[in-house]
Homo-oligomer: 299 residues x 2
């Protein structure tokens, strides 16, 4: 069964597209890898690459592209609206097929060690984090490139790999592992955003709700409706159908109904198949019964 | 977007496995094709091959394997428990991804014409059928190999391709196109098979129910329960969730509840995603949002 992992490195260059192509070329050289997307933003001065392949292919692609970025990008001259701390700013690994989060953590460590060996300070984050306070990327990146010249000397922020000394040209890099995020919004037939917000607060983790759900209430001006906008940061544990049913249950209290929902961006097949399995009460369902899963495994 | 089609040819040889390998080898030679499965049954004296590829790859694979079967299999010596009429007995084409049923019908005709040009009488069936009475494979194959020496001279059974004369060595071949079948069973908390059967009769097409649903009631002895066992012959039109909800509605009349369901064999992702989309009330869902779909399209 073919193992597939996703990696979405972010590079701190979004204006010099010829330079960006040189970085992407490093990935194109690797046979069998799929580049799903890459896009550069001039204001952010940043490029986001989405690629999928076997753990070996993805490891090589992450290392080779980061190496090229270290060669070509000079952070002393970098300006851009998006928070950043290095030439290769973040490298997250995500399981796609027949791969566990632990295997992603292993790859993150291998890639982190490689960058460290070139003199780039590396912080492991999310599920790969070595300390709880390094789980959250925003917290790791706080202070940004400019601030790290000082932050790095703090023992609490000793890098997981590489020297405890800022690399002026390449900055630092955050390398992490995480399960895919599912962005799932539920629309309500009330224009009262306070109700949407109250529902969000009962459903989300911080308010006592589902462990891997974050959420807020939003106003949908055009529709004269409101929305519970959620991120499921671990859909295998806090399921899409659970979030849906929890919102329905809370909405009842206000005489409010669900009018629809939306799934934002690309999501793994399994996140929705779980819902089908639940509502259709399917016994002993096996993902290998899905033709497309088998096709990907055989490729 | 990559187009993918499935083809499941059945060959009338299940005992001489070296011979079977020679047929499969013709498919292995075609680059990029995926052989999902092939298995030979001694009692049936028959081999079923499941392969997936682009329309061009699948066309070539169907033609080349049928050519090898025509060369190696001698129907004058064939015995086996399964109904059959030719060396390559049936060749059905099914859409998998980014392919319409019409494109499958086109491929069926192209493959049929090739076999016809070798002197093999060919009947188009299911969605490729040229007459309503040729839609059903069982009806086409009625009389089997032995009976076709006479049946073929009947003007009503003039082949769609090839001579109107039996090919003694290779027999005739049925070439068809159909959407994938979904086998879906729903288990009930009653041991009374009459109730299951009454429900099946209301849900299935022939009894006034859903157009593309066939179904019967069965006893599950071990569980002391019963089952509505269904085939959805066009899940894009008669959906899995519709069948489920119709059974639930009918069961109510008898005070009976659904205790679970089961999906048999391999099914297309879309057949279950439809259910997730329905129950979660997802607005504007696009299959391309599924990571695995995008991966297959990019391959």
């Amino acid at each position: 069964m073919k193992k597939l992992m996703e990696c979405v490195p972010n590079f701190s260059e979004g204006r010099d597209l010829a330079l960006v192509e040189q970085i992407i070329d490093e990935v194109r050289k690797i046979e069998g890898i799929t580049i799903l997307d890459y896009s550069s933003d001039k204001d952010h001065n940043r490029t986001v690459l989405t690629m999928i392949g076997s753990p070996e292919q993805i490891t090589k692609a992450a290392i080779d592209s980061a190496k090229k970025a270290a060669e070509l990008i000079d952070m002393t001259k970098h300006e851009g609206a998006h928070p950043r701390m290095g030439a290769t700013d973040v490298i997250p690994f995500t399981p796609v097929s027949n791969v566990t989060i632990d295997e992603c953590i292993q790859v993150a460590k291998e890639v982190g060690a490689a960058l460290g060996s070139w003199g780039i300070p590396v912080y492991l984050y999310e599920d790969a984090a070595s300390k709880p306070e390094r789980t959250n990327l925003a917290q790791v990146r706080k202070g940004q490139y400019e601030g790290f010249f000082e932050k790095i000397s703090d023992e609490a922020w000793k890098p997981d790999f590489g020297p405890q000394e800022m690399n002026a040209k390449s900055g630092c890099t955050a390398v992490g592992a995480r399960v895919p995020l599912v962005a799932f919004n539920i629309n309500l037939d009330t224009p009262d955003v306070e109700i949407a917000d109250k529902i969000a607060k009962k459903v989300r983790h911080i308010g006592g709700g589902l462990r891997f759900v974050k959420g807020i209430g939003l106003k949908l001006e055009e529709r004269n409706q409101t929305q519970v906008s959620m991120n499921l940061v671990n859909f295998e544990k806090s399921s899409v159908y659970q979030a849906f049913e929890m919102v329905r249950i809370e909405a009842k209290r206000y005489g409010v109904n669900i009018v629809g929902s939306e799934v934002i961006g690309t999501i793994p097949m399994k996140s929705l198949l779980d819902a089908a399995e639940y509502y259709l009460q399917i016994e002993n369902f096996n993902l290998d019964q899905i033709l497309e899963k088998r096709l990907l495994d055989e490729k």
